[in-house]
Symmetry: none
Subunit: 200 residues, 4 copies
DNA sequence: CCGTAAACGAGACGGTACGTCCTGTCTTCTA
DNA sequence: TAGAAGACAGGACGTACCGTCTCGTTTACGG
């Protein structure tokens, strides 16, 4: 991998500052949630100038996106045994992440930010929502191909159902996003749509 | 429900003030969305003192709840022909209401308010979410009873799916909550879960 | 004297807040001079919201004008014995006031503010400079009338000389604005311009 | 004065940078006055790094001093005909310089800087104020010697009067520092203090 | 002709203050 | 007591400069 940054003029951004901001923001949002996440508070907690935050992120929302990404391992390839197991795997990836209250709060906050900023909504879609949907989409398409799911299924609608249930419980539920929830989702989908499948 | 307050002493609340506040709030949230809906702005627009708002509503959220209720006709009894038609009817009630951008914005705002106020979340659940779910719940139970839906179905999960899809599209979608969306939902549920049914 | 304020609507300005601001400002400017006199610092010291300052004064300069006026007794009528004594009296009024370092610093600050604000310059002229000049102007005109001063004298120029010397020493001198300075001024004017005068 | 720096190691200061800074500063202060004269703005306008300014001048004030000196021709020897003409000559030197709004603004700015920096006040005295006073002082002493002025005159006080009038009008007047002003000063002094003098 | 050392443009950095907006509470006068 | 009006303490906003710092690059001079 070659030098990607073409050596911009001037003093380079300090990586420690970057880290300090993300850490402070995560701590704050974990402890107090969205309301506590003022730029002022983040700066104070990180021991950093407000300007150093604005220099990196144009809005609270884009900071939140990076905060969500930070430390997020790659989605992980599917074991691809069968539809049901794959579906469960993707669901558990999601619920597991949200188990950490910091990430749950980040997601809630992203939705808030998206409400008054169309740009933000697109960004959330692109960086947060769509990657998860894409993983799930592959699972469903595989299921259709193998005959485990009926071919005529409206894939995008199923995605809306499943992720809708997740977001809905996150935003308006009572913290029910446990692993058990993932299992319930899988069972419900299975009962509704899955067909017996002869693997050979 | 009769007048519960036994004619307290002093000047009675002015009904016109009540109306002016709701109207101003609706106008503001229709035109500019959540950000513009400051108590200050509502008061100014309504030509009313801030105190007159705080006197009636303890928070922006509870004002929003009343604002959502305001002018909302009763759910309307089900025609109850069959599962599919009933489902569509309930869905269309929902999508139709959201067609008015003011109501869409109110719902979005309620979600925002709910994020930093547990009390609020309960109120939204009780007054906004649950009534819709209850209507839909009856539809599903009917379907189970008539054999149109498999008896083992996790009803609450189905509700999560359907309303999750609605909220998800409202909050993070691109204004796709058209009547066509309602039809897609119905068709997807039908394809997945509905069984052929001999109505007699 | 009748009610001068026509009972404006709303909560009246709190006189204590007014006082607290002026006191805080005077303390700050006495202790640290112009640089320390930020609106933020005044508000903090007065235990007052910044807005409460901005509500009363549109700029730091206009606050300073009021601060100079605050507690300033009326100029005091001239004893009017003769030119020399009257001149000395007016000079001593000026130097005495400036003896308090707070007032000296206020005057310096007013000059600073006036440099980047034409409106401010006019205000300083009108409220601070001109009243003093007017008192001195009368002294000089009296002197001309009584024959103690030559009639052809350019009064305004003399005023420029005398007050110029005061301001010059205030701004660029080394704190030499003692009573002795007042005496030197009087003696110099006397030696230059005053004529022997037969008081009867 | 010979080259005092013994050819230090490293890259020598760039004379063009020096010029660019002074030019940019003069342009800015001419066009917008003191407020616009931020180090940041000067650097940007000169196309120069902020550090290159701080390397040469320890404060905005010392830059302003150099800026005032820059392009200032030597005071010019007195023709020394008589007191009145000499006085007028010195006065006109002063008013002429101030005619250029850039220089007027520089002087105003120097006074501002001097208010919060005792070091600066001394520097202004030494480099700007005193040289002018010295020229004028010689004029007055000549006048005393030749008998055109009464010998008992407080020379320093006269200097305070004359230069005080100049500074006062510069800082708080309305741009009245015309040549006419110089003539008025001379006439006033003449009328007050000058005695008929037989030049032989 | 090569290494050392300062100058230079660029821009990051911790700070401080700015003037504005809104919050929820309060205090006045009028109805 | 309600209501219009608006003051109040407080907190955050996003911006502008301060004076210092750290980069990569350039330009002299002395070994």
């Amino acid at each position: 991998m070659s030098k990607s940054t073409p050596a911009r003029a001037g003093r380079p951004r300090d990586e420690n500052v970057h880290r300090a901001i993300l850490d402070a923001a995560r701590d704050l949002i974990r402890e107090e949630g969205y309301i506590a996440l003022s730029i002022e508070a983040v700066a104070a907690r990180a021991g950093v100038a407000k300007q150093s935050i604005y220099r990196r992120w144009s809005s609270k929302g884009s900071l939140l996106v990076d905060l969500y990404m930070d430390g997020l391992e790659a989605p992980g390839a599917l074991a691809s045994h069968n539809f049901k197991d794959d579906l469960l795997a993707v669901m558990l990836q999601t619920t597991k992440r949200v188990q950490d209250i910091a990430f749950a709060n980040i997601l809630k906050s992203l939705v808030i930010e998206a409400q008054s900023d169309a740009e933000m909504r697109k960004l959330v879609q692109l960086r947060i929502v769509e990657p998860r949907r894409e993983a799930m989409r592959r699972v469903i398409e595989n299921g259709k191909q193998s005959g485990e799911l009926p071919g005529g299924l409206d894939t995008e609608m199923i995605l809306d159902f499943v992720f809708g249930a997740v977001w809905f419980n996150l935003l308006l539920g009572e913290g029910r996003l446990t692993n058990k929830f993932a299992h319930r989702v899988v069972k419900a989908i299975e009962l509704m749509a899955a067909r017996e499948h002869d693997a050979r």
